[in-house]
Point group: C2
Chain length 236, copies 2
DNA sequence: GTATCATTGATAGTAATACTATCACTAACA
DNA sequence: TGTTAGTGATAGTATTACTATCAATGATAC
């Protein structure tokens, strides 16, 4: 039996629910491939329309504009990731283990099999992960953050951070920066992954000599050290 | 006597050196005001030209395109910041104190007086700081990072991170993640400052009740704790 | 079976953007 | 006095980010 857990997306994110039609699903799935491929700035609704043999105007019936489509994809990813977190930490009691597991999930390691991937069929989560790393900050680093935030567009990200923060507090109840710690470890994970690939001199995970741990593994080690050193240190 | 230390910018960043003419300087200074005001996406060379009473084509004689102008501004900021770091840590011997000082500089606290501001006259560093927080990542989160990187466009940022990394190693010679620690603390400083202002629920620095430290002060405390807990923790 | 309704295809069009090209003018300089 | 660099002024192009309209289609309701 296959479990596919549908994500309920905020309906401010779209004009017509893309999961409600075949065309809508193609828009979402193929936009992920296209953006991962050529980047968000270079992606246009015309190129996307050509790719899925439809018309620009049809895409506009689902998404108000390009930016909303990006926000939709990112929001979907965070909801998917929160589900992964819930799923993989559910049976754990030790908060340290939970945090450790979450770090791996952030790097898309030890994924649940596709059977359990959230949302309907065939969303390429790896491609989406690439997009999140390179484009997610563009979702909120805009002149209209406040308005977008008022429409709850960033709620999935906030929810994930909130969940992570509460596990941090399980581990260390008197830690005074739980929310900042949560958001900063997530951002750091993505930034370092990006730097590792494109600006490796900004990291310590550059070359991968034979027999040694890969960049990804060392990044994970770094994040672990970063997170637990801050949570284990005395306050003040 | 006034010291103005000229920044020598990478000449790949511009077509004609904007510091070499009055118009060029107006372009740089007013673009800072305009971008800080309306955001990078909304800024156009036409609006900028109108603002300084020149023509679009004249701006294109200095900067190849909008993105290069952004990269130029960001690069200028990093060079300015590195100068601040050198200046303010020069007389210190204790690496811990140096690091502490650098965190303040990252938040633009305890600035050197305008007398010592690097570069020619009247660059509004506070406005530029706002731009760096909101737009700096757009300088490298592009599809053409690799090409831009090959042209050394990000050298100022790398230099700053390198300098910070070497001070980290002064403080803790066997710390294995000096470069990643350097880049991540800088990114975290900016992200948290942004979140604090626009998405405060992602931080712990939201409301500022009377008599308590301001958000900025608590952010600084957080960064201090984050940095030193990681550098003081045992490895493995 | 027919009305109607929602969805898409197809075409067209607009305002703005991101440039490029050209040429005349001016001030500096050689 | 001639040359040149820099700028102003105007014009123009390709593309983008949309909006509008209407016909074709296929499903559903009666």
């Amino acid at each position: 039996m296959e479990y596919t857990v549908q994500v309920r997306m905020n309906d401010k994110l779209f004009l017509r629910d893309p999961e409600s039609s075949e065309l809508g699903r193609r828009i979402v799935r193929q936009s992920i491939m296209l953006i991962a491929d050529i980047g968000f700035e270079e992606m246009t609704f015309r190129k996307l329309a050509d790719r899925i043999s439809t018309k620009e105007a049809s895409i506009y019936r689902y998404f108000e504009n390009k930016h909303r489509l990006l926000v939709y994809l990112i929001a979907w990813y965070w909801q998917w990731l929160e589900y992964q977190v819930i799923f993989h930490t559910n049976n754990l009691t030790d908060p340290r283990e939970k945090l450790d597991r979450i770090l791996k999930i952030l790097l898309l390691k030890n994924l649940s099999p596709p059977t359990f991937s959230l949302g309907a069929d065939n969303i390429d989560v790896s491609a989406l992960h690439i997009i999140v790393i390179r484009e997610a900050s563009k979702a909120y680093l805009t002149h209209h953050v406040t308005e977008d935030n008022r429409q709850q567009l960033f709620k999935p990200y906030k929810d994930l951070c909130g969940r992570l923060a509460s596990i941090i507090l399980e581990y260390r109840p008197d830690y005074p920066y739980a929310r900042s710690r949560a958001s900063s470890i997530i951002e750091t994970a993505h930034y370092q992954a990006y730097f590792m690939q494109y600006l490796p001199s900004l990291t310590d995970f550059g070359g991968q000599p034979e027999g040694l741990p890969t960049g990804e593994d060392r990044l994970l080690e770094f994040l672990r050290h970063l997170l637990f050193s801050s949570l284990d240190a005395p306050i003040q």
